[in-house]
């Protein structure tokens, strides 16, 4: 009788088993890391058409966030400044800097600048800036120390878990409204974040939505 299974097939079940385990492990690990916001978002630091440095403008020159992001307090969308806003200063300051060639071209020809979007939420999430910055949530809570960044980097995961963490425990993040745009503000010795937050949450009736409709419509 012919030998249906040659000798090498003896090892086959083990090989298959190892293969399956390897593939499964690879998949699990792959999804665990490569598909999570931690990999896809955090650390994202694209190159912009103009090497704009927040560190120079905010840290060094002391500009307020709202000089450029002028509608952050009234609109859901925090606007990127128009060319006109940049040219308010740069028609006098650094007006021949080759790094600003794109800006000057935009101003002369009326072509908008295509800034690369760093922080992007999915289409089905309706985030609103105005309600956060008017109720004691600072820019730094989500965007990190932008005032110290030369190139803006995505530092928080922006996963649903990240949002809910704060929506469930707002006292960890709220501060007084006058400190919202001060990215270097730290709770003082006397006034720990815990007690300050608890007071503000109580006094202002802070009740961030934790149902689906709060963000998904």
């Amino acid at each position: 009788m012919a030998n249906f299974f040659p000798k090498w097939t003896n090892k086959l079940p083990v090989q298959i088993l190892i293969g399956v385990v390897l593939i499964a492990t690879f998949n699990v690990l792959g999804i665990w890391y490569w598909f999570t916001p931690k990999f896809t978002r955090v650390g994202y630091q694209p190159e912009q058409p103009i090497p704009f440095s927040h560190a120079i403008h905010v840290k060094q020159l002391g500009m307020d966030c709202r000089y450029c992001h002028s509608f952050v307090e009234v609109s859901g969308h925090s606007n990127i400044p128009t060319t006109q806003t940049c040219m308010n200063c740069h028609s006098h300051v650094q007006k021949d800097n080759p790094k600003l060639a794109v800006l000057r071209e935009s101003h002369e020809k009326g072509i908008p600048i295509k800034w690369v979007k760093v922080h992007q939420l999915p289409d089905y999430v309706y985030f609103n800036h105005s309600v956060h910055v008017n109720r004691g949530v600072s820019c730094v809570s989500c965007h990190g120390q932008v005032n110290e960044m030369d190139v803006v980097e995505h530092v928080k995961t922006f996963s649903m878990d990240f949002c809910l963490e704060c929506h469930k425990n707002p006292e960890h993040a709220v501060r007084k409204n006058e400190d919202v745009f001060n990215l270097d503000w730290k709770p003082g010795r006397e006034q720990r974040q815990e007690s300050l937050g608890k007071n503000l949450v109580h006094d202002w009736k802070v009740n961030p939505p934790i149902n689906c409709a709060g963000c998904h419509r």
């Binding site: 694209p46 935009s106 072509i111 908008p112 109720r135 009736k205 009740n207 409709a213 998904h216 419509r217």
Partner: protein
């Protein structure tokens, strides 16, 4: 085992409510249809494709999806592109609102347009305008879709060749030069009725410059008024307590308008028992919105209304003028005691309410009817009304045709209209236009490349701009000057009629308001800087009206339709044909609008086409049938012969239609040879204009009908989502309300089951109290007043516009897959006489069905506190918010459809296909068929950016406009800043349906606030919840409908013969007269417990019912 919940049957006595003839007859076909949440066709793959080819397609789509998703793993680079310069007012991410107006032939509607980043996305009524409550119409709501219609006329076409739009100026310049040379003597300009003072001024300017120029105005559905140049009467419903409508549909958006709807329904807001309410009598041949609201309705052939009016005049002692020496024949009252009693009761009521009574007659009734009505109004009722003359008048279409026929015209300029399609058929307009096109030139300014712009009929087609793209002005119903301002530059570079007239008169074509502000200067006088600003900002001019109202009593004639005192009696062999404007596509101008095509007609619930409406009796007489098969109506097709022409149309049997009468609406049967023109409108329904002559534009008698033997599939939504009776709609009479102020709470099952005691406590809101743990600030709820709802559908379209709801196409509507979040259930009601009409009886024998009442009920997700949908969702995609909203997380939904299955209200809608991404005629091809890029871009421009566009496989439903709620809450929190003032003030949030409602029948707000408007409404005795015995605790409740019958007596009996039918309470009151056990034979045990609340004692005939029961 599956537990089958046996819903209680309706009571045997009392009234039966039904939505279609099939439901009434309770046929097996209907039952099968009903048993499932989604009908056969909706949930199963029964279409032409075999399973094998389906799998093949799916395989292909999986492969494509695989390729697509690989690229989706990594974050694609996205860009933020700010503007170079900041435009005035614009805040990225916030809506900007502008006032404008939509011109309509009988008076424009003032509007507020919401724009995002310069794109108009939503239209609402202007609540600043004093004569309006901020409501709007279906047409206004849907006109936003027209703006983004990819089938619009986009380029200049000269002799069939597309040219650049930059040549429009040159063409108009040479046209003007030609005018200067000829002094206009061989030129005819044909305009639409836009009620525009600027257009009127430019016409006068043209007439001054070119004294021989011919100007004509044509509106197909105003033909009678135009032939007569009559001023338009404005009835003052706010001053009338008793109203008789003779075939006048004053609650629609054509003959009526926002003002008449508001002033009429304001008199029906009965808050407390004993509050006054007006009484409406309607005499009409077909059910209209007005007839549905009537307290007493008489179905009568439209051609007999004149006889009715004469008979009424005689009863009231008013002289009726003779016609050609012959008196108008009176109705034979001796032979018809029903009619005799009806007329007597009506006459007495009019006499008793002299000074507060009013008769209105339909615009398509002959002049003599209007004369009789004016005579009665002047002497008996002293009806208050005013009238407005139109902005300008020109030649009518008959005179225009005569001019062309005489050969005097070599240049024809058609601005806006579509006469090849809709001119009266006896004028032979197509050949006239062809003649001018061959010997001279025909210029057509048109919104679409349609019938009138075909090659050979028009030499030059100019693209027309939408009213949202251009400056203009117009007059409202009462002659108030309204401003039209552009929201966006013309998408395709078209021009407006105003610009065209301006160019002919020698003014430059600009994007600015120069022509309009010049007119305004003449109206307002003096320095207009601030007045103009206010005019444009508010949308209307509060100064003197342009057309001053004519004094009351001076509006004798409206229509010159020649009087026909027909001696040939109506019979199945000699019927009458009534041609009317369509509720959805109007005179055809909205027929390429997908929202309007898919909107169910308020009365017939027919979509995507029209049908010849007839009564059950006439259908029986003519041996015509429409059968329900697999949920699809298959109707016999008839050939109608009228005015020497014939037309094939499917029939549709409508209860309450007059016998020997056919009603057919215009606006369908469009054809365009351009493959890209009218993709939505083409080949739908029958073109009623083909039967319309200028001598008999509306009512034709001596019509014959023959059966063609063909069948046609209609797409009717009336059975979709039926809830099988169970006292869903509730009504009573004004006197019942006085006798039992909470009558509505004790009808149907609620009459005799104990109040529900739930073991589940709402963790956030129980017994009107917020929980203490984490108190939410609001508890949302809604109340809908069935007494003021006129069933006009504006809410449905407003919802569609606000919430990015797609259309699904005729085929999918037939399958029961329409997506409207808000539907308006239309119930017929009739006294059920079980001995006479046994269940399941043959419809052909049920002629009593023609005598019915009608009631509307808007139905959307009611946001149950104990929502059955939430408990069955395996992935928590539908959950409850702490503010009482039943929310949907689209991204979690995996499309099991369990929720829809478990929803007793049948309000959940499932995306069976990617309706937004695929062409509607090739949905089954899946990703193999993509919609043209331009269509998708247009859809993106139109969509509300605050609402997710849903994809295939996702369940959706009414959200109470959660985007508006969240926006209002956020704005309030921003305002509160460092304070605790976060409660949104009452009436800050209006849902799209509430905002759009011209009758103000919907109110939304915080039910935890006892002072909110919604709490006030819910406190009314008329308030009830649908299916409350299921303990779902819906947040939307309804206020029961009231009817106000005429209770005059003659001797011991009531005069009105239909008194037993009018508003007789369904279910509860008068319920227990029948055999109790028989009535509830199928009810499960336990449902029959005795009530803790006092039920209502059965009432005898018309005796006030008493509270307190003997259970």
């Amino acid at each position: 085992m599956k537990r089958v919940f046996q819903h209680p049957e309706g009571p045997v006595t009392g009234k039966k409510y039904w939505r279609s003839l099939e439901e009434y007859s309770d046929s097996a076909e209907f039952k099968q249809w009903l048993d499932r949440e989604f009908p056969d066709n909706a949930s199963e793959f029964t279409d032409g494709q075999s399973r094998r080819s389906f799998l093949k397609l799916m395989g292909a789509s999986m492969a494509l999806a695989g390729i697509g998703s690989l690229a989706g793993c990594r974050r694609p680079e996205a860009y933020v592109v700010p503007l170079v310069k900041t435009p005035e007012w614009m805040v990225p991410g916030r809506a900007l609102l502008y006032a404008s107006a939509m011109p309509r032939r009988r008076g424009a509607q003032p509007l507020i347009v919401t724009t995002f980043d310069g794109r108009p996305v939503k239209i609402e009524g202007n609540n600043l305008y004093p004569q309006s409550n901020g409501g709007s119409s279906t047409f206004a709501q849907a006109s936003i879709l027209d703006l983004y219609d990819p089938d619009r006329s986009k380029t200049l076409i000269v002799e069939g060749v597309a040219k650049s739009n930059s040549e429009i100026k040159t063409i108009l310049e040479s046209l003007r030069n030609q005018l200067v040379a000829s002094q206009g003597k061989d030129v005819l300009v044909l305009l639409d009725e836009a009620n525009s003072p600027t257009q009127a001024r430019l016409v006068r300017e043209l007439q001054k410059q070119f004294p021989q120029i011919n100007i004509a105005v044509y509106e197909p559905m105003m033909l009678a008024e135009q032939l007569n140049n009559a001023p338009k009467a404005i009835p003052r419903f706010e001053k009338a307590d008793v109203i008789l409508s003779l075939d006048c549909d004053f609650l629609n958006f054509d003959e009526g308008g926002l003002q008449s709807i508001k002033s009429f329904t304001d008199k029906r807001r009965v808050k407390n028992p004993g509050d006054p309410m007006n009484r409406l009598y309607v005499v009409e041949n077909r059910y209209t919105n007005t007839g549905a609201v009537a307290d007493h309705r008489l179905r009568l052939a439209a051609s007999q209304v004149i006889n009715f009016a004469a008979t009424l005049a005689q009863k009231l002692g008013v002289a009726v003028p003779a016609v050609n020496g012959k008196p108008v024949p009176l109705l034979d009252l001796a032979a018809n005691s029903f009619l005799n009693r009806w007329l007597t009761g009506l006459a007495k009521d009019l006499q008793a309410n002299s000074g507060k009574a009013m008769i209105v007659a339909g615009a398509h009734q002959p002049a003599l009817v209007h004369q009789i009505v004016a005579a009665i109004n002047a002497s008996v009722t002293a009806a208050p009304q005013a009238a407005v003359a139109s902005a300008f008048t020109g030649l009518n279409i008959v005179q225009a045709a005569e001019l062309i026929r005489s050969g005097k015209i070599s240049t024809l300029i058609i601005a806006g209209g579509n006469p090849v399609y809709n001119a009266p058929n006896d004028l032979d307009w197509t050949n006239l236009q062809k003649k001018v096109a061959s010997i001279g030139k025909v210029y057509r300014l048109g919104f679409h490349n349609d019938e009138s712009s075909e090659k050979g009929l028009a030499n030059i087609q100019l693209p027309m701009s939408h009213f949202l793209e251009t400056w203009g002005d117009t007059l409202s119903e009462d002659g108030t000057l309204l401003s039209i301002q552009p929201m966006i530059l013309p998408l395709f570079g078209g021009i407006s009629t105003t610009q065209l007239l301006g160019a002919l008169a020698g003014f430059a074509i600009t994007d600015g308001p120069e022509l309009v502000s010049e007119t305004f200067k003449q109206v307002a006088g003096g320095d207009i800087t601030s007045a103009w600003k206010k005019f444009v900002h508010d949308g209307f001019y509060s100064g003197a009206r342009i057309a001053a109202p004519v004094a009351a009593g001076n509006v004798a004639t409206v229509t010159p339709v020649p009087v026909q005192i027909d001696t040939v009696p109506l019979s199945p062999q000699s019927l009458e044909l009534v041609i009317m404007a369509d509720y959805k596509v109007d005179d055809g101008r909205y027929s390429n609008n997908g929202w309007m095509q898919e909107l169910p007609d308020p009365i017939t619930k027919n979509t995507w086409g029209n049908a010849a409406l007839i009564s059950q009796k006439t259908a029986n007489d003519l041996n015509l049938k429409s059968v329900l098969e697999k949920g699809i109506y298959q109707s016999d097709v008839i050939r109608i012969k009228a005015n020497g022409k014939s037309l094939e149309a499917p029939i549709l049997i409508v209860p309450g239609h007059a016998d020997n009468s056919i009603s057919l609406s215009v606006g369908y049967g469009r054809v365009a040879s351009d493959a890209h023109g009218l993709r939505i409108a083409s080949n739908l329904g029958a073109n009623a204009y083909a039967l319309r002559s200028s001598t008999n534009p509306y009512i034709t008698t001596g019509v014959t009908v023959e059966k063609t033997g063909k069948r046609f599939d209609l797409a009717i939504t009336q059975e979709h989502g039926s809830m099988e009776g169970r006292a869903l709609v509730r009504e009573g009479t004004v006197e019942d309300f006085v006798a039992v102020p909470d009558f509505a709470k004790h009808q149907g099952m609620d009459a005799h089951i104990p109040e529900n005691i739930s073991i589940h406590k709402n963790p956030y809101f129980e017994n009107g109290q917020h929980s203490s743990i984490r108190p939410p600030v609001h508890q949302w709820g809604m109340a809908i007043d069935l007494n003021t709802c006129i069933g006009c559908n504006t809410c449905t379209i407003a919802c569609q516009s606000e919430n990015n709801i797609p259309i699904v196409g005729k085929e999918q509507v037939q399958n029961g897959r329409e997506m409207h979040w808000l539907r308006i259930d239309r119930y017929f009601s009739s006294k059920r006489d079980a001995s006479k009409i046994p269940l399941g009886s043959n419809l052909d024998e049920v002629i009593e069905l023609d005598d019915t009442e009608m009631i509307f009920q808007p139905m959307a997700c009611v946001h149950c506190e104990n929502a059955p949908c939430e408990t069955v969702c395996p992935v928590n995609a539908t959950v409850h918010s702490e503010e009482g909203l039943n929310v949907m997380a689209y991204n979690r939904c995996i499309g099991t459809r369990y929720c829809a299955n478990n929803c007793p209200y049948k309000v959940r809608r499932f995306n069976f296909f990617d309706y937004n991404k695929r062409p509607l005629d090739s949905l089954y091809l899946g990703p193999l068929a993509d919609r043209p890029r331009e269509d998708i871009e247009m859809m993106k421009l139109r969509s509300n950016p605050n609402v997710t566009v849903r994809m295939r496989g996702v369940m959706e439903k009414c959200t109470y406009c959660v985007q508006r709620i969240e926006t209002a809450k956020i704005d309030q929190k921003v305002k509160a800043a460092a304070s605790d003032n976060i409660k949104v003030p009452d009436q800050t949030i209006t849902t799209a349906c509430q905002q759009a409602c011209p009758a103000d029948a919907i109110v939304f707000g915080d039910i935890s606030d006892p002072n909110s408007r919604v709490s006030e409404w819910k406190a009314s005795g008329r308030d009830y919840s649908v299916l409350s015995y299921l303990n779902t605790k819906p947040r939307t409740s309804y206020l029961a409908r009231l009817r106000n019958p005429n209770l005059m007596k003659e001797g011991a009996g009531f005069i009105m013969p239909d008194i037993d039918d009018v508003g007789k309470m369904s279910g509860g009151v008068g319920h227990h007269g029948g055999d109790h056990s028989a009535a509830h034979g199928h009810a499960p045990e336990g449902e029959h417990a005795h009530p803790t609340t006092p039920a209502v004692q059965p009432a005898g005939h018309r005796t006030p019912v008493q509270g307190g029961g003997n259970h």
